[in-house]
């Protein structure tokens, strides 16, 4: 018991101590953004978590909730985001789907691609768009949950930097990708392992752009303490180029009657760029089948991204 607590605290401490450092540039952007309010609040440490949105983090962890989740997000001044996910069981397998996109703008003078995650909090007169859609399947084999997902991800950005206000032509770059994952109970929680974004580089603006292929390993556990429940989510992510990121989050919840409860969450992670703050926070309210999650992530210049997820089971 003490061991798991220490592990949880360490997992939280690692990303806080990590210095922000630019990751290897990769895209499309939607693959790097938290897809739900809960994930945003928990430092995007979702590889061992289990809810509708697990389909984005680890296909082995999708579970048939017979419900769905819908997230709306606002980034900076005019950025908007949307994601939805659901899963259902059919025979021995569970199938899930998800879609997520971010629609925001940036100054036309910005030339860099791939898009840095912090760009979503800015604004400008050049529209940018990033999306990912996926389907996944999961089953249990010899005590292990195993899953696979097929993804399509795309960025649409201005073709080139321009100061002209008359014509901005779009440029599209997309990739077909695969995720593989597994999970298994470990100690008093669940460990998850996912190899994400397996695929070929894609071409954008005539250049080959790498996809963020990464291996994510994480562990989650839920405990009780008096009238409260609390849980840890931890994750270590290693990109193909050697960039390593640790992430962790904790949530504490309290219910006063069956089916009703509130929860507070906080998380931290090593960010992709120095323009992102490492911490996230949020809360949720559960009323029987309805769960409302709010999550916030922070950027330099006091910019924030707000996400509100509505889950219905």
């Amino acid at each position: 018991m003490r061991f798991t607590r220490i592990l949880g605290i360490l997992a939280l401490a690692v990303p806080l101590s990590a210095r922000a450092q630019q990751s290897y540039p990769a895209g499309p952007l939607a693959l790097l953004l938290p897809t739900s309010a809960r994930l945003a609040a928990l430092g995007n440490a979702g590889v061992a978590g289990r809810d509708e949105y697990a389909v984005f983090s680890n296909p082995a962890q999708i579970s048939a909730t017979n419900g769905f989740g819908v997230t709306v997000a606002t980034f900076g001044d005019d950025g908007r985001g949307f994601s939805a996910a659901s899963a259902a069981a059919m025979g021995p397998m569970t199938y899930g789907w998800g879609v997520s996109f971010a629609d925001f703008s940036a100054p036309r003078t910005v030339t860099g691609y791939p898009i840095a995650p912090a760009m979503i909090s800015g604004s400008g007169d050049a529209d940018q768009f990033s999306m990912v859609a996926l389907v996944a399947g999961q089953m249990t084999w010899k005590g292990f949950r195993i899953g696979a997902a097929g993804k399509y991800a795309q960025d649409i950005v201005p073709r080139e930097a321009s100061t002209s206000s008359l014509l901005v032509l779009p440029s599209r770059g997309s990739a077909w990708l695969v995720d593989l994952g597994t999970s298994h109970p470990l100690w008093t929680g669940v460990a998850g392992l996912s190899l994400q974004n397996i695929g070929h580089p894609y071409v954008m603006r005539g250049q080959r752009v790498s996809v963020p292929t990464q291996l994510a390993l994480g562990w989650t556990a839920n405990k009780s303490w008096g009238g409260f429940d609390y849980g840890y989510a931890t994750q270590v992510t290693a990109r193909r180029d050697g960039w390593v990121s640790a992430a962790g989050g904790m949530e504490i919840s309290w219910g006063w009657i069956e089916g009703f409860g509130v929860a507070a969450r906080a998380g931290a992670r090593r960010t992709e760029t120095a323009d992102e703050r490492p911490v996230g926070a949020g809360f949720s309210f559960t009323a029987d089948r309805l769960v409302l999650d709010y999550g916030a992530t922070f950027y330099t210049g006091n910019a924030m991204a707000h996400r509100l997820t509505v889950r219905w089971r």
């Binding site: 009780s224 009657i257 069956e258």
Partner: protein
């Protein structure tokens, strides 16, 4: 920046949340009247006796988790291999072995004992807990019973079977077998030449007691006790044959273990069943099935009894489990306000269990009447409502409604007839839970409404009746005496049949034109005058049920007694377990459990009231529905004891 949450949204959230919890609802408590009697004059068995209480432990002496069974054992016991009777998935088995330090092949025989400080020999009672969090040890939870029973001259051993608790299924034969292995150890303790138990245990007077899964295990152990082989595998040979006289089942489960895929049969032991109406774990009183299955076939005096305690839960009979029927967070799901105080529930447990053991192991027959009619000990019972069942080995079935589909026949030699009933059928008694599970006993469902349909709501017809008639040969064979008694088991329902249709009199019909026109006008007028019938609301039918029991002898003499003289007759007791509004309706098909109340009516009472009535020439038992004008009852276990032991019917209550 996010907009601040509007105050209205917070108010709405608070209202929504508040609206989801339901208000307290109970059946009207009649305990002030029902428990106002006390005709038993013997000492209260729930109070401590004269013996000083001592304690000891026995066990493996190597237990990794339980200090008392490692360092403090008076007797060391050898672990046994329980694996043929219980299985655990390999992954789970590894975890358990790591925690406990042993696996099912080396199950410890651990027990904590309360015993009287005296020469003995004393009767032995084993109690085993049921399923619970394995790390929250359940065996100390019967401390209150141990102290009481030891002070009254019983040895109580509370068995440690925590190591078989947790997420296991189908292991109740293992729990039962362990009880018998404990008895083998007790034989060794008793046979030893030294030690506190040396020749202090009376192994001819043994009772097994269990709670929850342990309640089923106690009955299974009593069934295993007389077998030569484990029913599911003859490779496992049995040779126990202990003198198990009594079994106590506290809120037991049933059929989690089914020997040879059958419900566990049980014979020739005294049996006591306790169950709480507000049991948040074993929410249906499934122990009634074991109660029904118990048969007395050896001609020896035995009895069985059930106490269904209103507002009692599952765990308050164990001081560790308390009111956490749904685990540590029970307060979120279960409405704990509905429960009787913990002390009251334990007092009831102490009272009933102690009286039962005194009666069946110590021969203290002065406590027998409280099992026939609990009002004889009304002052001893905590103030709530009890439904009780009772049957002793002299009972002969007149009608149990099993085995045939003929409504007009009862047991062999018994015919059944009715008059003016609104409904009459035989059907199984359901449990309140959803699904197809039921009490596995059929009963007669009898409905009546003596009111004649029409605008005159006071117009009554002849009282309906239901009659069971015994053949002459049956009466002769049974040799019914004036000391006999009639048994009835009755559960009123909430159903109220519609008023009777007025019978058409066609013999004096005037067919003249004028008469026909007059009748048409009268009919039209009456239709105008008839008020709209109220919306059917069975739950609102709360009139107390009562009727007259008539016994008719072969000479036609009729003796009558009101049913309520012999026990309270109540509408089903309303049970709401959950805090969330609508959750009970979602989970249960009925918000009550049908628990038939047993009525034992001594024939001598009828003979006294009607001197011409000759019990020896009893011909018919008639239920005349003349007190409550409408209602429906479930009738089961109609029987006769031709000559009931007077100790059972002593000190009657005379309301």
């Amino acid at each position: 920046m996010p907009r601040p949450v509007p105050r209205a949204a917070l108010v709405m959230t608070a209202l929504l949340t508040a609206a989801c919890s339901q208000a307290l609802k109970f059946s009207k408590d009649d305990s002030a009247t029902v428990l106002s009697y006390q005709t038993i004059t013997a000492p209260n068995p729930s109070l401590p006796g004269a013996f000083k209480v001592r304690t000891m432990y026995y066990g493996s002496g190597t237990d990794k988790q339980r200090k008392e069974f490692k360092d403090s054992v008076t007797y060391k016991t050898k672990p046994v291999d329980v694996s043929p009777y219980a299985t655990i998935a390999p992954a789970q088995a590894a975890d358990r072995k790591k925690y406990w330090g042993f696996d099912l092949k080396a199950a410890p025989i651990n027990g904590r004992v309360w015993y009287p400080d005296g020469a003995g020999p004393f009767p032995l009672v084993l109690v085993v807990h049921g399923n619970h969090n394995p790390e929250d040890y359940s065996d100390p939870g019967y401390d209150y019973l141990g102290k009481l029973l030891a002070s009254r001259g019983f040895i109580l051993a509370s068995l440690d079977e925590n190591w078989i608790n947790g997420a296991l299924r189908g292991e109740n034969d293992g729990r039962a077998w362990m009880m018998l292995k404990h008895l083998e150890s007790w034989k060794r303790f008793n046979d030893s030449t030294a030690g506190p138990m040396s020749h202090k245990v009376d192994l001819t007077r043994i009772a097994l007691m269990g709670h929850s899964r342990g309640g089923e295990a106690a009955a299974v152990a009593a069934a295993f006790n007389t077998l030569k082989y484990y029913p599911d595998d003859a490779k496992q040979k049995f040779s126990f044959n202990f003198a198990i006289k009594s079994v106590v089942a506290i809120a037991p489960v049933d059929a989690q273990y089914m020997p040879t895929s059958q419900y566990t049969p049980l014979e020739n032991v005294n049996y006591l069943l306790l169950h709480g109406s507000h049991d948040g774990d074993v929410a249906t009183a499934v122990g009634m099935r074991q109660y029904e299955r118990l048969r007395f076939t050896d001609g020896q005096p035995h009895f069985k009894s059930m106490f269904f305690m209103y507002r009692a839960n599952h765990g308050q009979w164990n001081t560790v489990w308390q009111n956490k029927d749904n685990g540590p967070r029970s307060g979120r799901t279960l409405d704990l306000r509905t429960l009787v105080p913990i002390e009251d529930q334990r007092t009831e447990g102490k009272l009933v269990i102690s009286a039962f053991l005194e009666a069946t192991l110590n021969g203290k027959s002065e406590y027998l009447p409280m099992f026939r009619d609990h009002r004889t000990a009304g002052h001893w019972f905590p103030k709530t409502m009890y439904t009780t069942r009772f049957q002793e080995s002299g009972y002969r079935a007149v009608a149990e409604y099993e085995g045939d589909i003929d409504l007009a026949s009862g047991a062999p030699g018994v015919t059944i007839d009715s008059d003016s009933l609104a409904s009459w059928k035989e059907n199984v008694i359901p449990f309140r839970g959803r699904g197809t599970d039921d009490q596995r006993t059929n009963a007669a469902w009898i409905g009546w409404n003596n009111r004649i349909a029409g605008p005159d709501t006071l117009k009554m017809g002849r009282p309906a009746s239901y009659t069971l008639t015994l053949s002459d040969s049956l009466v002769k064979a049974w040799k019914i005496t004036a000391n006999g008694a009639v048994y009835l088991s009755i559960a009123p329902t909430k159903e109220k049949p519609s008023p009777r249709a007025l019978p058409r009199d066609t013999t004096t019909r005037d067919t003249s034109k004028a008469a026909v026109a007059a009748r048409a006008k009268a009919t039209a007028d009456s239709i105008k005058k008839v008020p709209k019938p109220p919306k059917p609301n069975p739950a609102a039918d709360t009139l107390p049920i009562d009727f007259t029991v008539e016994l008719v002898d072969a000479d036609g003499h009729v003796a009558r007694m009101p049913l309520t003289r012999y026990a309270p007759v109540r509408r089903p007791l309303e049970v709401r377990l959950y805090r969330r509004a609508g959750r009970d309706e979602q989970r249960f098909q009925n918000l009550f459990e049908y628990v038939p109340q047993t009525f034992v009516l001594p024939l001598a009472d009828f003979a006294t009231s009607t001197p011409d009535f000759k019990p020896e020439r009893l011909k018919s038992i008639r239920l005349r529905f003349d007190q409550t004008f409408a209602g429906t009852i479930i009738l089961d276990d109609v029987g006769i004891n031709p000559a009931i032991d007077p100790k059972y019917v002593a000190v009657p209550v005379r309301p």
